[in-house]
């Protein structure tokens, strides 16, 4: 699965990493629903860190991503409006 961190780059994650990815994503969503900015920030940073553990794709790679994460400096407010979607977690 290829995940893009917006404004940063694309990473390839292995199949066996996907369950953990979804888990972390759900935790971020939960923090956002609690409207807890501090918690959201920490969990989102954790999610990004996990994605970065994947293989960074070279700049000339031409394939699209399966999922796109908001930029690293996203605020809770932005995450709940501009970058929100209903149920787009590709599973």
């Amino acid at each position: 699965m290829i995940v893009r961190i917006a404004t940063e780059g694309q990473y390839r994650l292995a199949e066996e990493q996907l369950p953990r990815l979804h888990e972390l994503d759900a935790e971020v969503v939960a923090a956002a629903e609690l409207a807890d900015a501090g918690l959201f920030e920490r969990r989102f940073a954790g999610l990004l860190e996990f994605v970065r553990s994947g293989e960074l794709l070279e700049d000339a790679y031409l394939g699209p991503s399966d999922a796109i994460l908001p930029p690293p400096d996203v605020s809770l407010a932005e995450a709940t409006t501009e970058f929100s979607t209903d149920d787009l977690i590709p599973s």
Partner: protein, 253 residues
């Protein structure tokens, strides 16, 4: 947690659709897509220039404020040496207001620097992808009959499109931040016009603005401690090796 109202995922799917769906003349569409990519690349470059320009403007403003701060510092010392502690305190308060402003300008310049770096990275990535796309489209045009050519190129275009959208997003965020900074730069300009940062010795009373600004800024503790420091320096500097008569600043013959 299904059924939760307003549920969202941070994993946002690529919204970029392939430019090349059901193209009538693939070769032409490929070239058109490539032209578009070059256009966007050009926009990205000029976006970076805008950010650099904003940064330069803030840095210029910082320079002016630093000069003013240094001048006020000198005036505070002179006033203190002349025994006018009130005037000295006033000058220090103004200096403090400027330093607060400088602190936040510093932050914004740093912020713009990061934006610039991010945009440059994005532009380089886009450049690499556009270049790869160009090569690929030529290959595909050459073997035009290949059954999966359309699919391949469509995917490549989506990939470049996604990168373009991403650079666009970075650009948008940079522009938003730059707008905020423009507003701040204007605000500083207004304060300067209102005399907030002016020479205290030349000031009658541009009253309200000044008072309001000073009230906001009066971290009296900072000013007090600076005043004390200045006094100490003055005492230490004056005592040991001044002329025996304790000569004034009039350095005449």
């Amino acid at each position: 947690m299904p059924g939760l109202e307003g549920r969202f995922s941070t994993l946002v799917k690529a919204k970029v659709s392939a430019v090349l769906d059901r193209a009538e003349d693939p070769a032409e569409t490929l070239d058109y897509s490539y032209e578009k990519q070059l256009e966007l690349l050009q926009q990205a470059k000029s976006g970076i220039v805008d950010v650099v320009t904003s940064k330069k403007r803030l840095q210029l403003q910082e320079g002016t404020l630093r000069e003013q701060a240094a001048k006020l510092d000198g005036q505070a010392r002179q006033a203190l040496a002349a025994g006018n502690e009130d005037l000295s305190r006033q000058a220090l308060m103004r200096k403090q207001a400027i330093e607060d402003e400088l602190g936040s300008l510093d932050q914004q310049v740093g912020d713009l620097e990061r934006q610039q770096q991010q945009l440059t990275d994005g532009e380089n990535k886009l450049q690499a992808k556009v270049e790869a796309f160009r090569t690929k489209k030529e290959v595909i045009k050459a073997q035009y009959s290949a059954a999966d050519a359309q699919v391949q190129i469509s995917e490549a275009a989506t990939g470049v499109g996604e990168q373009m959208a991403d650079v666009g997003l970075a650009m948008q965020r940079a522009v938003d931040k730059t707008e905020n900074m423009k507003a701040r730069a204007d605000a500083v300009g207004e304060l300067e016009q209102a005399g907030t940062f002016d020479d205290p010795t030349e000031l009658g009373g541009s009253g309200d603005d000044l008072d309001r600004q000073l009230a906001q800024v009066t971290s009296a503790g900072v000013v007090d401690s600076e005043l004390e420091k200045m006094k100490a320096e003055l005492a230490a500097g004056a005592a040991p090796h001044q002329l025996p008569s304790g000569g004034e600043k009039e350095a005449g013959s």
